[in-house]
């Protein structure tokens, strides 16, 4: 059993609450997140009454929008991290286990990727792929699906490096040498002996990749190249908040509250990842 420290437990509790809120938002007593109500535009948060967190420039309920945004932001974060894991883990495991020339070339490829401004390249790719949105729509792919792959492509290298280091260590382990000795094929050694031992690493890497992916989604949506309206995400809410902000009307909540949701989630994920890493690497395990 994993023993978490107090801070990680608080972080986990916050994330679970946010997750439940995001999953159950449809059955919560909140207004429709895209229902315009111009007569209620920019009402300040009432905290205990309706609207709890105030409304935006179109009178849409901010609490509902933040929770609906959590659905998209968190699912992009989760699936994007999964894609990064699915690329990085086999890459690193194979490089570390095979060693030698294969390892050198595979890792050199990772080094080369670090010389490329990947975010810019991915933005460029996303823009070009816009030309094919009709074809993609016909096979059921939207921009949001492209996103998972784009983000996975951005963040798999660190996972691959960690997986490689672990695989290098396991390569010389007695049970791996034993199965090599009885002539087990490489693929089955990788699947049955290397990958299961990478599980705790995987858990930590997943938690540490998540905040980066969530932030990247917010970043791209903020630039107008990510999730599109009528979908809501924290990046879109921040963008709208910033656009609404002006010196004449006091409407701090419209930027500060989505920003707070995003920041707290990022901090909680980071804290949980650090806590998990400490818990899994402690000698008492």
């Amino acid at each position: 059993m994993i023993r978490l420290d107090m801070g990680s437990k608080v972080a986990l509790g916050f994330l679970v609450a946010m997750g439940i809120g995001a999953l159950a938002v449809a059955s919560l007593p909140l207004p429709d997140p895209s229902a315009f109500a111009l007569e209620n535009a920019l009402s300040p948060p009432a905290w205990t009454l309706h609207p709890i967190l105030g409304t935006d420039a179109q009178g849409r309920d901010l609490a509902a929008r933040i929770l609906w945004g959590a659905r998209i932001s968190l699912s992009v974060g989760f699936l994007g991290s999964l894609v990064a894991l699915l690329i990085g883990l086999p890459w690193g495991a194979v490089a570390g286990y095979r060693g030698g020339r294969a390892d050198r070339w595979m890792m050199r490829f990772c080094d080369a990727l670090e010389g490329v401004p990947l975010v810019v390249v991915v933005l460029f790719l996303l823009a070009i792929l816009q030309e094919y949105r009709m074809e993609m729509a016909s096979i059921g792919l939207g921009r949001i699906h492209l996103f998972f792959f784009a983000v996975g492509a951005l963040f798999w290298v660190p996972t691959a490096r960690v997986a490689r280091a672990e695989a290098l260590r396991l390569r010389k382990a007695p049970f791996v040498e034993a199965s090599r000795g009885i002539g087990a094929p490489t693929i089955s050694i990788l699947l049955r002996h290397i990958l299961p031992h990478l599980l705790s690493t995987v858990l930590v890497m997943l938690t540490l990749t998540l905040p980066r992916v969530v932030l990247m989604e917010a970043f791209l949506s903020f630039l107008g190249l990510g999730v599109e309206a009528p979908d809501v995400s924290w990046g879109i809410l921040s963008r709208e908040g910033l656009e609404t902000l002006n010196p004449l009307v006091d409407c701090w909540w419209i930027l500060a509250l989505p920003g707070l949701a995003l920041t707290l989630t990022l901090l909680a994920l980071q804290r949980l990842g650090d806590g998990l890493r400490d818990a899994l690497s402690s000698p008492g395990r």
């Binding site: 975010v119 810019v120 460029f124 094919y132 910033l242 902000l245 930027l255 920003g259 920041t263």
Partner: protein, 304 residues
């Protein structure tokens, strides 16, 4: 072979590779430079295509693009008619470089001062303040930080301009928004290294000679913390490159980032291609500069 020469070769190779891949994608993509809302008569279209050599074989087009790249000419922009991509980027580059320099300055200044201040009395009030401040600025996404900065300093206090580019004052908030998250990371590095140095013999000897605390921090501790600082600058510059996309957008600074995002939204692929190549070149150059600085601080690192 000289490691710096090898790095230079890798830099050139990366630029050429990114350019080639981006070129193929742009040429492969539907929606060429002549697809505007207005339908062109076939003769006009053919004339324009032959003018821009779009009817030539792909290899010849690539050879032309490569020749242009070597001469610093990235071809015409698809969106801004009659303007070359290089001109647009050349207009944006000084703004972006000023922002980047401001960001690095903020990161170094705040990061080093706060880190040393925290290392002076571990567990003290200053240490606590620096560490919480660092977690805070590292946790808040920079576009939120920028927005809150605008709300407070421009709208509530009215001290600083909220957007546009005019004079140095226009760069204060953007530089802070760009640099503070990195200052947070840097303060942690400097604090850790500073604690080690402060516990060492050199500092004990300096104290025994009765030197002032400021003198010790400035001349005995600071130089010894610079290697991790230099090592941090390479990745930090890469991060700032990404961050500047958003910060330029928030403050409507007409830098490369703004042009690039606009190009991506306007389907101006030649401009996007040029910006991508320029970003690749900038990233390589900053990483290189950080390596050179590191090798000068610690010659053992140069021979790798």
């Amino acid at each position: 072979m000289n490691p710096f020469l090898r790095r230079f070769g890798a830099w050139v190779f990366t630029i050429l590779l990114v350019h080639a891949v981006a070129f193929l994608l742009v040429r492969g993509a539907r929606g060429g430079p002549l697809d505007s809302a207005r339908e062109l008569p076939p003769q006009v279209r053919a004339a324009l295509e032959s003018h821009y050599h779009l009817d030539a074989p792909l290899a010849e087009q690539y050879a032309r693009a490569l020749g242009g790249l070597l001469q610093g000419d990235l071809g015409p922009s698809m969106h801004y008619r009659g303007t070359g991509v290089s001109e647009v980027l050349a207009a944006g580059l000084p703004v972006s470089l000023a922002l980047g320099a401001g960001g690095i300055l903020v990161a170094l200044l705040f990061g080093i001062v706060a880190g040393l201040g925290a290392a002076r009395r571990p567990g003290g009030v200053m240490d606590w303040a620096v560490r919480s401040g660092a977690s805070l600025v590292m946790g808040i996404p920079n576009f939120i930080l920028a927005g809150l900065g605008v709300a407070f300093f421009s709208f509530v206090l009215g001290w600083l301009p909220s957007a546009g580019s005019g004079g140095p004052a226009h760069f204060i908030l953007p530089s802070l928004a760009l640099g503070l998250p990195f200052a947070g990371q840097l303060s942690r590095l400097v604090r850790t290294r500073g604690l080690e140095v402060l516990a060492g013999d050199a500092v004990r000897a300096a104290k025994a000679r009765g030197l002032s605390e400021f003198h010790i921090l400035r001349f005995h501790v600071l130089p010894r913390t610079l290697v991790p600082v230099a090592a941090f600058l390479g990745p930090a510059a890469a991060g700032m490159l990404t961050g500047s996309l958003v910060v330029e957008q928030v403050f409507t600074l007409p830098g490369i980032g703004t042009h690039f995002v606009q190009a991506a939204l306007n389907r101006d692929y030649t401009l996007a291609l040029g910006a991508t190549v320029l970003y690749t070149a900038l990233l390589g150059a900053t990483t290189w500069a950080s390596d050179i600085w590191m090798a000068r601080l610690d010659p053992r690192l140069g021979s790798r």
